[in-house]
């Protein structure tokens, strides 16, 4: 996203945030996901699209402080499928792990996540109504969901490696 979006502290609606990689000099103008840390008014739905990443992403994801975004109802995180390769599995794991979410969240959608583990924080999102996982092709298991009494819908598709779901 263009530099400075994090200064728009009145923002309530930000339909999507694109995370890109710092590869060119021009990209000094780009901001990481930690720009979201000051956007305390965000509400409704947010979609995070990862179109490029590197090691610093992990601290930026953590810095986004989504755990404080109490009005967000729906979060989608999707990765560009073209980025996926076997060398980055660990990075995927750490990226999603560092994205801590507020327990008021009602809907979580994760697409084309290339990690093997799904973060255990999902078990604490006690107000989730809907979880949708798609194209997370290395995911082997989904953490226990029995602590989410409001969950009505769990949809999974193209999870080729899924072995079991903890219940």
């Amino acid at each position: 996203m263009p530099r400075g979006i994090g200064k728009l502290t009145s923002l309530q609606t930000l339909s999507c945030f694109v995370v890109a990689r710092n590869t060119s000099p021009k990209s000094k103008m780009i901001d990481g996901l930690d720009e979201l840390r000051m956007l305390n008014e965000l509400r409704g739905s947010l979609e995070i699209i990862v179109k490029g990443y590197e090691g610093s992403c992990i601290s930026e994801f953590q810095g986004a402080k989504l755990i404080d975004r109490e009005y967000l109802q729906s979060l989608t995180v999707r990765w560009d499928p073209d980025l996926d390769n076997d060398l980055n599995i660990d990075l995927y794991d750490k990226m999603l792990q560092s994205l801590r979410l507020n327990s008021n969240l009602q809907e979580l959608i994760v697409k084309d996540y290339g990690g093997m583990r799904f973060p255990s924080w999902v078990s604490n999102l006690s107000n989730l109504v809907r979880i949708h996982l798609e194209g997370c092709r290395r995911l082997k298991h989904i953490p226990p969901l029995d602590g989410i009494p409001s969950l009505k819908e769990l949809s999974i598709s193209y999870l080729d490696d899924l072995e079991y779901i903890d219940l």
């Binding site: 400075g4 339909s15 073209d82």
Partner: protein
């Protein structure tokens, strides 16, 4: 609907007022057999800010499915809803209360909710739309083919529910154009020349809706509309926005949904400090993901 509207109106009155209402006010309105007159009883009892909110809806076409979130943002942009007496509640919440109050009195119907239970859309019954048009008078005018023309300097809000040929002169004479607070062009063929006349003549606009025109470019002249609070350019073809958009420091809403060619946002977007809703609508269907990827690379780069 009429019975419900009148019943709700009565429930807001003291019981002591019921008898005079039933014996005098109501029969006076019912006797001439015009349903609009009866419904107007309910309108007349509204506080003035809700009257403005309701009358503004006459700008939408009849039977239109109104996006309630955006309706509230339009009211806010026009200053009908204010946060002055709302304590610390955010103004959108105050706007929602206004909507719910009008809904309860039957001014809207056919409400649809999203999967989280938020009110998403509503409609207006044709009779209510007629009432809105009547009470709006010259203030808000929806121009239709062969219908009313803009010829009164009391007019503040205009929508065009007809195909416009924008290569011709804008069909609003200058003295009236400069008084307008709202301009909604709902269908038509875009012509780049229209930017010149809009940005030159409509200096007091708070709301500008130019949706679904196949527009290829947004003119840098747009910075002249410095009072603009609500800009809807959704469903157009432009690849970028001019940097001068960032001079619109009063802008609260920037709606860019379904602008599938859009590659980037202006660099200085942080200058638009009053922005509350930036809707670039990325939630496209998966079969459109290929296109999405192309269109969003620029947002990051």
């Amino acid at each position: 609907m009429v019975i419900k509207a009148i019943a709700r109106l009565m429930s807001l009155k003291d019981r002591a007022q019921w008898l005079p209402f039933i014996q005098q006010e109501l029969p006076n309105r019912v006797q001439d057999d015009n349903i609009i007159h009866t419904l107007k009883l309910s309108y007349d009892a509204l506080p003035s800010f809700l009257k403005h909110c309701f009358a503004y809806c006459s700008l939408f076409p009849k039977g239109h499915k109104i996006d309630v979130k955006y309706l509230i943002r339009l009211w806010i942009a026009q200053g009908f809803v204010s946060s002055s007496n709302s304590g610390r509640r955010c103004i959108e919440v105050v706007g929602l209360k206004c909507f719910e109050s009008l809904l309860w009195r039957s001014f809207f119907h056919e409400v649809e909710k999203d999967r989280f239970g938020n009110i998403e859309s509503c409609k207006m019954h044709d009779f209510m739309h007629d009432l809105a048009t009547k009470v709006a008078g010259f203030q808000s005018i929806k121009v239709e083919r062969g219908g009313k023309q803009i010829s009164n300097n009391m007019t503040r809000h205009v929508s065009f529910d007809m195909e416009l040929d924008l290569s011709q002169q804008m069909p609003i004479p200058l003295p009236f154009a400069k008084c307008l607070r709202t301009l909604m062009l709902l269908i038509g063929e875009w012509d780049e020349g229209a930017w010149v006349s809009i940005c030159r003549d409509f200096r007091r606009l708070r709301v500008l809706v130019l949706s679904d025109f196949g527009m290829m470019e947004v003119s840098p002249l747009i910075k002249k509309l410095k009072h603009l609070k609500y800009l809807d350019l959704s469903n157009n073809e432009m690849e970028t926005l001019p940097d001068s958009v960032t001079n619109l420091v009063n802008l609260q809403v920037l709606k860019l949904n379904a602008c599938s060619n859009l590659k980037e946002l202006p660099r200085g977007i942080a200058k638009v400090i009053n922005l509350r809703h930036l809707d670039v609508g990325c939630t496209l269907d998966d079969d459109l993901f290929q296109k999405l990827r192309v269109c969003l690379v620029g947002l990051g780069n």
